[in-house]
């Protein structure tokens, strides 16, 4: 307190108007407080964002792991070997041979209609 009074006295003794000096002092103080507030806000924000980044990283890794695990499970249950076992259990058997049905173009209903119209 004594120090502040001394400082104030010396300030008033300077060759500037007392009111002007007081204004400067108040402004400097306000600026200092504002800077501290900004710094605190930014630091808090940085810490929060850092925390969020950590959480998002972890969540991303967890989701990727879950997706890949699901893919693996789908891959295993749809693999030809598993499918064959399941199909056989359901009574299916591999086809001995595949027959192709050859459809002559002039045997289609459209061709027959065209032919009839022509006649």
């Amino acid at each position: 307190m004594v120090m502040v009074r001394g400082w104030w006295r010396r300030l008033r003794m300077l060759d500037v108007g007392g009111r002007r000096a007081a204004t400067m002092a108040i402004l400097s103080g306000a600026l200092l407080v504002a800077l501290i507030a900004v710094w605190l806000a930014l630091s808090t924000r940085t810490a929060l964002l850092n925390q969020q980044l950590d959480e998002l990283d972890a969540r991303h890794a967890r989701l990727t792991a879950e997706i890949n695990q699901t893919w693996t499970e789908i891959g295993e249950v749809t693999s030809p070997r598993t499918m064959e076992v399941r199909a056989r259990r359901l009574g299916f058997r591999p086809a001995e041979r595949i027959e192709y049905l050859v459809v002559a173009l002039d045997a289609t209903p459209e061709a027959a209609a065209t032919r009839a119209a022509g006649e």
């Binding site: 630091s43 940085t46 810490a47 850092n50 925390q51 980044l53 990283d57 890794a61 990727t64 792991a65 890949n68 695990q69 893919w71 693996t72 789908i74 891959g75 295993e76 749809t78 693999s79 030809p80 070997r81 086809a95 041979r97 595949i98 192709y100 050859v102």
Partner: protein
């Protein structure tokens, strides 16, 4: 009262001490400033490495072939390990061994490391699933005090097991791709390591985001691949062969639809197999091993002769049953003499003597230029790891002689990989255009961009006209020589090949047999190669490989929806 002498001594001591302290301070602060600043920075900075998974691999229909799953690596720290028996009981499920065996294994590892790195931790279990790790951490509440360290990682999993194992390849723990697609596309599949460097929560220095690897889509058809592998296994059982390869290729593009090798391996167990039996077991003979292709090469000799105009389908040769070239006597495989023969007869009966005569008449320049054009003696460029080029001696090599010209004409004295042989055969099916075989058809970058590979035409090796003529000759020859190769409803063109088997330079009784062909012969869609090593049931390609070719061709037509000749 202190004497002035004592005061002087005291002053000198204080002065010296101050000088020493000052000198050291200058040394640390000025001269070694960088070193200590860096050390302090390291001490205050926390760096965290983040890993993303390696890219996944799918077949052409989207079936998953390889993926990276969350897993854990368990290490034993010898400095903090106190109760080995208790740790072994907890670790047994993670190591996949009984507790007693796990204890012996841990003790053996620690004993082994005692002489070299006694304080470093050692991996005792890898690719441990999250469930097992969770159980492990519950059992041993405080891992650090139990002497165990657990690291998070991504472990490679192959849900199809051994299907296409040698073609896909495998990765080490690092992870680095070995063999197959995993090796060839290692850098593209690999994820980039992310990094977070911070001095405190409020002082984040560097963030390097991690990126997953690219996802790959292969040209393989999983259903066809599974069938081909099962058929190869049956052929190995039926013929008593020691190993074999089957490849199915899409004629127009060079895309590989199936590639099976026996013995194959399950990439899920690759690291274990490599540790137990050595990495040699984990090769893919389709791409990593060259062999003497035998009479399959006669087709390319005839192609060269047709292309150069030296012969036509009407040209008649006289087979004397014996030919002497630089003191080497050449006979037909059955030691027969067939008199007047056409190129169709040469292919149908697989005659060595007239084939060698054609090559000798053609001359080395034309013959080797054509064989080189077909891709022999150089890598095909297929996107699989560690491809070998095979050997083809030409007149530029010191060891070459005219005997080589004669024997090379029927596929002896030279080596090629199964991929080289099928690719050369495919050029005939593809109207004379040699394609670059490929196995990855597209990949998706982490940015989402999809990169599609386009089929690559390497060169026109023969004219379309020559290719058509040769296909007709091959079809007629196959109808006479290997009618078992024909699938009902489809025309087939192909050629057998039988070569002697050499062990450390000594000729053995057994052989290597091949059948390479394509269908439908008039409009080829697929090219197939079947190769068996040292079959016991017969030493010839006809009875061993041709039935396998037929079955694979029939199933491929069904799976790929290739209609028969009558429906096209």
């Amino acid at each position: 009262m202190i004497s002035s002498r004592r005061l002087i001594i005291l002053a000198i001591i204080i002065g010296l001490t101050t000088a020493i302290a000052f000198t050291r301070a200058v040394q640390v602060q000025v001269f070694e400033n960088t070193k200590y600043a860096a050390a302090a920075n390291d001490q205050q900075t926390e760096t965290r490495i983040t890993l993303a998974p390696r890219g996944a691999i799918f077949d052409r229909s989207g079936h998953l072939l390889a993926v990276s799953n969350r897993a854990y690596i368990v290490r034993v720290d010898p400095r903090t390990l106190t109760d080995t028996a208790a740790v072994a009981v907890a670790l047994a499920p993670a190591m996949g061994r009984p507790a007693e065996e796990a204890r012996q294994r841990i003790e053996a590892i620690l004993e082994d490391r005692k002489s070299t790195t006694p304080t470093l931790s050692t991996v005792v279990a890898y690719n441990v699933s999250p469930q097992v790790t969770y159980q492990l951490t519950r059992t041993l509440r405080s891992l650090a005090r139990s002497g165990l360290l657990v690291d998070e990682t991504w472990a490679r999993a192959y849900p199809q097991g051994s299907i296409a194992g040698p073609t896909i390849g495998f990765v080490s723990l690092q992870p680095v791709g070995y063999a197959g697609v995993e090796a060839y596309y290692d850098s593209r599949l690999n994820s980039s390591i992310g990094q977070r460097k911070e001095r405190s929560r409020l002082d984040l220095l560097v963030i390097t985001p991690t990126q997953s690897g690219a996802d790959m889509v292969l040209t393989l058809d999983l259903n066809l691949q599974a069938y081909v592998e099962a058929r190869l296994a049956q052929a190995i059982r039926d013929t008593g062969a020691v190993s074999g390869t089957i490849i199915v290729m899409e004629t127009k593009t060079g895309a590989i639809l199936a590639s099976a090798s026996w013995p194959g391996y399950d990439p899920n167990r690759a690291i274990e197999l490599a540790t137990m039996h050595g990495a040699g077991l984990l090769r893919d003979p389709a791409v990593n091993e060259a062999y003497e292709p035998g009479s399959v090469v006669k087709v390319f000799t005839i192609a060269a002769a047709l292309e150069s105009g030296q012969v036509t389908t009407r040209t008649i040769f006289t087979d004397t049953g014996r030919l002497v070239v630089s003191n080497k006597r050449i006979y037909n495989a059955d030691r027969g003499r067939y008199g007047r023969v056409s190129i169709e007869d040469i292919l149908a009966r697989s005659l060595n003597v007239p084939t060698a005569q054609i090559a000798l008449d053609m001359g080395e320049e034309v013959f080797y230029r054509q064989l080189r054009l077909f891709g022999f003696g150089s890598r095909t460029g297929i996107d699989l790891g560690n491809e070998v080029a095979g050997t083809l001696r030409t007149p530029n090599d010191l060891e070459w002689s005219r005997t080589d010209l004669a024997t090379n004409s029927y596929g002896q004295g030279m080596t090629a990989t199964p991929y080289q042989v099928i690719n050369a055969m495919n050029a005939i099916a593809n109207d004379g255009v040699l394609m670059q075989p490929y196995i990855v058809q597209q990949w998706r970058e982490p940015s989402g961009e999809v990169v599609r590979k386009q089929p690559v035409e390497v060169a026109r090796v023969i004219s379309a006209e020559t290719a058509r003529t040769l296909r007709a000759v091959m079809t007629a020859a196959a109808r006479r020589g290997t009618p078992q190769a024909f699938v009902e409803g489809y025309t087939v063109a192909g050629k057998t090949g039988t070569a002697d088997w050499y062990l450390r330079g000594v000729k053995q009784e057994t052989t290597i047999v091949t059948y390479a062909g394509f269908l439908p012969a008039n409009q080829p869609q697929i090219t197939i190669l079947v190769k068996l090593d040292q079959p016991r049931s017969s030493r010839w390609a006809g009875p061993t490989t041709v039935p396998v070719f037929r079955d694979v061709a029939e199933r491929a037509c069904q799976i790929l929806g290739i209609p028969p000749d009558v429906a096209r």
